[in-house]
Every structure is written in structure tokens, then in C-alpha cells.
Assembly symmetry: C2
Homo-oligomer: 238 residues x 2
Amino acid sequence: MSSLKERTALKAQTTERVRDVAAMLEEEIVLGWLLPRERLVEEELAERLAVKRHVVREALADLERVGLVERIPNRGAVVKLLDPVEVRQIYSVREALETLAAQQIPLPLSGLILEELHAVQQQHAVAVECADARAAFRANMRFHETLFRACGNRHLVELIQAMAQKVHGARSITAASPEHLRLARDQHAAMVEALANGDRDRLVALCRQHLGPSRDAYIATVEARFARDRQQVAAPQP
Amino acid sequence: MSSLKERTALKAQTTERVRDVAAMLEEEIVLGWLLPRERLVEEELAERLAVKRHVVREALADLERVGLVERIPNRGAVVKLLDPVEVRQIYSVREALETLAAQQIPLPLSGLILEELHAVQQQHAVAVECADARAAFRANMRFHETLFRACGNRHLVELIQAMAQKVHGARSITAASPEHLRLARDQHAAMVEALANGDRDRLVALCRQHLGPSRDAYIATVEARFARDRQQVAAPQP
DNA sequence: TTCGACATAATTGTTGACAATCCTGGCGTC
DNA sequence: GACGCCAGGATTGTCAACAATTATGTCGAA
């Protein structure tokens, strides 16, 4: 009885399930459903996501390698809270990498890719209109993946994605904010336009501008939080 | 009975053992002790390295994430054979990253770092003189780590290291070659000199030159191997 | 009250056995 | 001889129980 279907749909490959769990946790972090410093208890997650603890363990190890999660031996995992210095460094590298990729995109861009990009951009716009943060996040990821893939260097794209992942924990501030989402939507549209016009300078400038808001919003929030933590240490709650 | 010592020396933290195993395998790959396409059987490695299969499994997952190893579900892991296109792409990114870092190193360099760098360079030179490939490899890693750390951006350094790791499977050709080792040694010396003189342009140029030989040697070898493989497929052995 | 020792609970880390999967080679059929 | 098919062996993937570690809470003494 539908053994094939169940195989591929429910069980899949083990490594697939690990990736799925990691992806789910990543989304929950980006959407602010899991906050920085929050504990990630293996059994709890295993039950909630309907997988064995073993799978959760591997997924957490993955997320640790990516930099989204911090694991302390014998104490478990927490969502990593990046300090402002790190965030600045990461964004500085992101800017360099994305600029590099943008400069390597062959212009004029092939009509095929341009259309694909336009389609993804539309999906993002729709998601923003519906205030569907999850759909917006996914479409946003696809947009940048499609955009930078056009540079032709797969490893460069992977690096760009890896660095973007690292600051996902920082995105929960902007990922749900309507203003930020609308701004991102408009910037995407402008990027597509620049690509259509073969205007490389504008494209590069847009990529750079595109990084600013989420970085600044996060740094502001985190600095406030760090200040509060310091205050708490100095004078524990009343 | 020395429980502390045994704890820290023999057992260590589990995550430490995983890292150790991954590092050992990495070295064996770089030194050509494990060749591309060679199978990595979990039980075999577990016995050889005197750890449980579980630890080997995690280490292999790590190496897969790094890109040194390829894992196919239910079939196991092999050391990855990079194709020429990938190698070119990776080296292109490496060049960009290392150039970026070199341009950000504050000049004149602090005397402390310069001395540290000089010391490591000397270690490398000694290892090359002794034709001790393993020591040379380690000193080489330390040299570049020390050099690029001076740029002040930890995440940029991590990226540079990650990209260097990716092509470690390609290094077995040059890692044991006396000529290549001597060339690398001289280039290191020149880099230190450029840093001492505050000559940034020369430093950047040297970094770029430094990448060339290993890339070219690998591409030549791999293209020969691919050609041979293709031939074998066309006409299986007599 | 505050401090430390101790028991207890919560959680992670380890292990070996078992199940699932994939490659290999032999066998029969066309 | 070529092809498909079915054991057999090698290897990876899954699991649940157990061990080890760390956090928590309680109690008694200063």
C-alpha cells in the first residue's frame, strides 16, 4: 500500500530528514519564533518535529557548523546571539562578496534568467503584500540565490549564502517588519530593472544598499540588549 | 589517580575527538596518504584511529560540509575529486578573498605580529629543509592564518581558511614536492619582507602569485586523470 | 539570612545491537 | 553469449537503553 509514496514522502533519505529539520529550525530562528539565547532541547525538538533525537542532534550539529547555533558540551544548544562586532565583520564580508559577484554577472543578462528572477521577485512581492513572513523569507532567499547564481561561480554563490545564513539570527527583527519587507521588495524590483538595463554600477550600488537596513536594525537591537544584560548583571532584577 | 589528566588527555570532550579525527583525515588527504576517489569506510577508520564509529561518522559529516569529502546516502564517503572547473572557481574566490584581506591589513604591521609571523616562517623553512611534508603543511597553515588574521576580520579569515580547505584534496601534488615547497618558502619570506617594508602592493601581488602554482599543478594532473577516466569508460581495460 | 554540601532531576553523550540498503557474483533463461 | 534475477556479504542508517554530566532545589549550620 503506497510503500513508494510513503518512502519518498514520509521517510525520505535520512540525510534529507536532517536537512529538513535544520531548515525548519533555521526558519523558526529567522522568523523570530526561536529567539537568540533560547535553549534548544533535543528531546523537546524531537517530539515537536516528530523525529528521533538522533536526527535533531545531527541537525543541531549542522546549524552549529553554519554558525546559527552555539553548542556547549554537556549543556546543550542555544540560538546564537551575535555581538555587534561580529555582525559588522560579517556584513563587511557580505558586501565584498556580493559586490564581487555582481561585478561578474555577464551583462546583458540572458532573458531566461531575467524572467526567472522576475518571477521570483513577483512571488516575493505577493508574499510581502499578504504579510506572509515565511513565504517572503523563502522568496527572498530564492531571489538572491537566482541573482547571484548568474555570476557563474557556484562556490562564490555558496559563500554568499553561507554568510547570509550566519546572520539569520539577526533577521528576526526585519523579517517580520512590514516597512523592511516593503523596502526589500522595492529594492528587488530596482535590481531587476538595473539588470534589464545592463546598468552594472546601479546593480552594485543596490546590492550594497540592500544590506544596510537589516544590519543597522540588528546592531541597534543587539546593542540595547547587551546594555540591558550588563545592567542586569550589575543589579539583578528587583 | 590522575583522573584530571586522563580526562583531558585521553578522553577529552567528545566534540574535541571529532575535531581531532577530522583533522587527522584532513592531513592524510593533504599528504596524499588518502587519494581522491578513495573510499572512507566508517568501521575501518574507527578501528584505525581508535575511536567509535559514531565519532568517525560525525567527522565525515564535518569534512563533507567543508567540501573535502563526498557522501552518498547508504553508500558511504569518498575523498572528493574536484573537477577543473570547480578548482578554477575556488581559486578565483580565494584570490579575491586574500587580496581583500591583504588590503585591509594595517600597515605598518605591529612588531608583535611581524615577529610571530617571522617565527612561523622560520618553522616552515626548517620543515622544508628537512623535507618534512607534514610539518611543512602545518607551518604553512599557521603562516597564512597568522598573516591574514592581521586584517582584523575574524570571519574573513575563517572564509579564507574554509576555501583553502576545499582544495586540500588538490594539494597532495604540491604538498610533497620539494620544488613547490621551496618556492612557497621563498614567497613567504618575501611576504614578511613586504610587510616589514610596508609595501602593500607587493604584498598583494605576492599573495596572488602564491596561489598560482598549486592551482596549475592540480589542474594539469586532474585533467590528465579525467582524460584517462574517459578513455577507460570508452574502452574498459584489456 | 547566607553559604555550602548533598541529593535529585533534567539533559546530553555513548554504546552495541539491529534494520535497511546497496554492491557483487552466480545461476538460469532466452 | 546477453540479460535479468535472486542470494550473500559488506556497509551504512536507526534505535532505545544506559552512562555521564550539569543544573536545581533542599536542608542544616554559621
